[in-house]
């Protein structure tokens, strides 16, 4: 069984990011970059599946600028076997990424594609579902538990009302949610050691241009700190005066 794990390099989810003064972009000076946390959960899940079934082969792939190599190296250090890097500095959108991934899938023939439900930079939550549609593979999004048996994946997924369990035949696309696992910590020497694992550079296979363009970036209206109250009674009185309590 081959698991393909697409990963994205994103702005550190804990960084406080501001727009540039002229609104044409983001001020990224001093900002760190990480593997999208949901993709990191996907890598971790693939590695845990491999620990149960050593026949599993894990390939990670990233589409992005030269810096994305750093995130691929980290995924290799976590336990992926091989990395692919579709190196491009082009502007991308989820539908382009899905098409590029489709091209990789046609070459690699994975049994399972496991990736984050959303990237924490653009928060789109689209790529995996678009990819599944293009491949005409079944999908299970927002997974909190995954079991493979008999050519099927049984996936517990988070829903608006709780959980459901879907059985989907392989090959399939699965997206990870926060509760699936907690990724292992990789010390720096581990990342350096993973340098011997194969990392192959690829070229873009499509020439699509983004069909959604960002015109401007602004800071949202801020809420300001209100009033500190000293007691529960004072809080109730304030809320009543504002009509927030009957």
């Amino acid at each position: 069984m081959k698991i393909l794990v697409p990963i994205k390099r994103v702005i550190d989810p804990y960084a406080k990011v501001k727009p540039l003064d002229d609104g044409t972009g983001l001020n990224l000076s001093g900002v760190k970059f990480e593997i999208n946390p949901f993709d990191e959960i996907a890598v971790e899940e693939a590695v845990r599946q491999k620990e149960k079934n050593p026949e599993i082969q894990i390939i990670v792939v990233s589409i992005g600028g030269p810096e994305s190599e750093e995130q691929l190296r980290k995924a290799l250090a976590m336990g992926a076997d091989e990395a692919l890097h579709v190196e491009t500095t082009d502007q991308l959108d989820p539908s382009i990424v899905a098409k590029e991934l489709t091209a990789v899938v046609k070459e690699q023939n994975p049994t399972v594609i496991l990736l984050g439900k959303q990237a924490t930079d653009n928060d789109n939550n689209q790529t995996a579902q678009m990819l599944a549609a293009q491949l005409e593979w079944p999908q299970a999004t927002f997974a909190s538990k995954i079991e493979f048996n008999d050519g099927k994946a049984n996936v517990t997924r988070e829903t608006d009302t709780g959980e459901e369990v879907l059985a989907i035949p392989l090959p399939c696309v699965i997206t990870t949610d926060l509760r699936l696992n907690e990724p292992r910590f990789i010390p720096l020497p581990g990342i350096i050691k993973a340098r011997s694992k194969p990392l192959t550079k690829l070229e873009r296979q499509t020439s699509d241009q983004p069909r959604v363009e960002v015109l401007s970036y602004t800071a949202p209206p801020t809420r300001s700190a209100g009033k500190k109250v000293a007691t529960v009674d004072e809080l109730i009185a304030e809320l009543k005066s504002k009509g927030a309590l009957a």
């Binding site: 599944a132 608006d160 459901e164």
Partner: protein
């Protein structure tokens, strides 16, 4: 410019009509379950009248021929919308814009990125698109006219099988549309304490219950209660946050609340920077006192 709104049930149809009316375009509603919402100003209501919602592969294959004839197809950005709509967008190879909070014009929209810390203005460079939107940005719809109903039974095709499913328990109002939300964080210790203290106050106020990721991850609260960047977005008249530090990811889900109350033992917690009323107190004292005084 014609717009199709996909409503998963009758309640969803009302939220969809809010977006449809705000867009100032004529719109139809495609409703998957429940009585067709014919009084919300839709041109027509395409009613599927299903006993339950199909998995995304069935959904997308069946709805593709209907969606194709519209310029815009939109749904609420709930988890079911986020699951199914991009698949349909992938089948039709249309672009998609997620989590719209404001319509500028038919090609231009406002949407948050980076856990709501930045707003972007985005423009479509394509005649057709899928959209999801956040309910908070769009005022409740006016009742209007009598829409015609078209019953359709599309062909269902797919390979997923649902083995089990938990349904909403009822009792408390829906988190995403509740007027009052009481949420609890990590210090609530265990599920029983959470239910007694946070659930107790919510019930006294007739409100819904929410939680932080930390509370959900440690098994104190159910996953569908998570509020924030990767959980539910809420916009109640009153949001009470108890034992919640105020991470960017949590605030992303509560910013549109009218009044935010924070109860935290640490006077320097970041939640106080955005709270309208802050009470520096131990929640194990403050929540029961508040509940007791409000029950009377």
């Amino acid at each position: 410019m014609n717009l199709l709104l996909i409503a998963f049930d009758s309640e969803d149809a009302v939220t969809c009509a809010a977006f449809g009316q705000s867009s100032n375009h004529p719109f139809d509603i495609l409703q998957l379950t429940g009585l067709p919402a014919t009084n919300l100003g839709a041109g027509k209501v395409i009613s599927l009248d299903l006993p339950s919602l199909p998995p995304a592969d069935y959904f997308a294959a069946a709805l593709k021929p209907i969606a194709e004839s519209y310029d815009r197809v939109a749904a609420v950005s709930s988890m079911r919308g986020k699951d199914a709509l991009p698949r349909l967008a992938g089948l039709l190879d249309w672009p998609m814009i997620s989590d719209i909070t404001e319509i500028v014009d038919e090609k231009t929209f406002i949407r948050p990125i980076l856990a709501g810390s930045i707003l972007t203005k985005v423009q479509l460079n394509h005649p057709k698109a899928f959209l999801t939107f956040r309910p908070a940005g769009f005022p409740a719809p006016n009742l209007a006219g009598e829409s015609s109903v078209e019953s359709v039974s599309p062909g269902w095709k797919g390979t997923s099988k649902r083995l089990s499913e938990s349904l909403s328990e009822g009792g408390r109002p829906d988190l995403a549309t509740a007027k009052v939300v009481v949420s609890g964080g990590r210090p609530l210790k265990d599920a029983e304490t959470f239910e007694n203290l946070v659930g107790g106050l919510a019930d006294a106020l007739g409100g819904a219950v929410g939680a932080t990721r930390a509370a959900v991850d440690s098994g104190i609260a159910a996953n569908e209660l998570q509020v924030g960047q990767t959980g539910k977005i809420v916009a109640p008249d009153l949001y009470i946050a108890a034992g919640i530090s105020g991470s960017t990811q949590h605030m992303a889900g509560i910013k549109d609340s009218k009044i935010i109350v924070a109860i935290n033992i640490d006077g320097d917690a970041p939640i106080f920077d955005i709270a309208d009323y802050g009470l520096v107190a131990d929640l194990f004292d403050a929540l029961p006192e508040l509940t007791q005084k409000l029950q009377k």
